[in-house]
Subunit: 213 residues, 2 copies
DNA sequence: TAAATAAATGCATAGACTGCATAAAACAGC
DNA sequence: GCTGTTTTATGCAGTCTATGCATTTATTTA
């Protein structure tokens, strides 16, 4: 059933731990906060903490790796005619934004990540864990849109490169986002980033566009 | 002085630990090998192990973050007229290749990383730690080549994006490299990757090239 | 050969994390 | 409301990575 006592208590506990963790980390810095401190502040056992979040970073960057919702995936695979990299990037950022409905927690996280480069790196790493699933999503889009290459491998390489580029760009975007104003538009940030990518990759003053061999 | 007993012994110890670690990790898998096992196999104390490598991953992916030599940096900042991203990527991979002169260790590392996605991620993370230094190198190239933008910030953003893209692409390249034949050419792999990037970023069937706004 | 420097080690300790057993709470059916 | 079942929370013991500090051992330099 939905909204049972059990479920609500679970959500409450999770939030309580998260709030305690964020608050402590903002005050003392992430690395100076121990799991025990978080447990004491949120009045749960250490074991419970790990049951919920799996690791110390987990409580900040999310206990489970981020996966876009079916709606986002659908929109992505069907968004024909636009730029693949831009669309993928948009899907990922959208699903990241959806994950945190509470504005205060959202902002706290932003500040924390800004102050803790290590967390930004870990977040990137976590994204990398889901690589295969992301590749699958992109392959679906290729299929839906009837995009073919000489062979399946080539198509998969392309998908893998898109994911790789995205994890890289995400690091850039997150940094910019972390240093931006609280209310700043993610959309603008994204389109600026994509412009920048295109400027960089298209800029090749003297080299011909053909293969380098 | 150079080649003193001290220095040679140090190099010998380091190599002994590295060999033991790689051998054990290939046999049992990285996560099933403990630091104590490595210490016993290489006959050093645990403390010595950490003095050399700082962490368990360190013994596999290198005790210190990878930084290109002055020669590489020089070549990069002066290589005018070519593609920025390609040149930067080349510099990074070159310096990575230079790090391991021993072919057997090199190959062992390749196999290990192929079998241990976690290590690939950690390696990427380590690269991210040096971001600021890389940005500085790129800024130097801008300066050497007299490249200007509206303001310094814009230039730095561009540099940061190049680093971000590179860390992403590196993940792709490393995966390809890990799964390739022992003798495969890194140069070919690189140029293929760069072609792929250009195909992806230039491919925008219906969207005009201008700003999305 | 003696002083200075560097390397290796031992020991104590913190802190993250896991496995396992058990207690407490919530649920489902009656 | 009572009872058996399923989740959730906890306690505890133990493993493993990692660090600080003091001490010993080896190499270098003067």
């Amino acid at each position: 059933m939905n909204g049972g006592l059990r479920e609500r208590k679970r959500a409450a506990t999770q939030e309580k731990i998260e709030r305690a963790a964020l608050s402590l980390a903002l005050e003392h810095g992430f690395e100076n906060v121990t799991v025990d401190m978080i447990c004491e502040a949120s009045m749960v056992s250490q074991r419970t903490f790990f049951n919920y979040f799996g690791s110390k970073e987990g409580v900040i960057i999310g206990g489970t790796p981020p996966m876009p919702s079916d709606e986002h995936v659908d929109a992505f695979t069907r968004a024909t005619g636009s730029n693949l990299l831009a669309d993928f990037l948009t899907m990922i950022t959208s699903s990241l934004l959806d994950r945190e409905p509470d504005a205060a927690l959202f902002e706290a996280r932003r500040m924390l990540i800004m102050r803790t480069p290590e967390l930004l790196i870990k977040e990137t790493a976590r994204m990398g864990e889901s690589e295969d699933q992301f590749v699958a999503i992109i392959m679906t889009r290729f299929e839906v849109q009837g995009i073919k290459r000489a062979n399946q491998t080539e198509l998969e390489d392309e998908a893998r490169m898109v994911v790789a580029l995205t994890t890289g760009v995400l690091q850039y975007v997150r940094r910019r986002w972390a240093n931006s104003q609280p209310g700043a538009s993610t959309r603008d940030l994204l389109s600026n980033s994509i412009e920048l990518i295109q400027r960089i990759t298209n800029d090749q003053p003297q080299q011909s566009k053909g293969t380098a061999h």
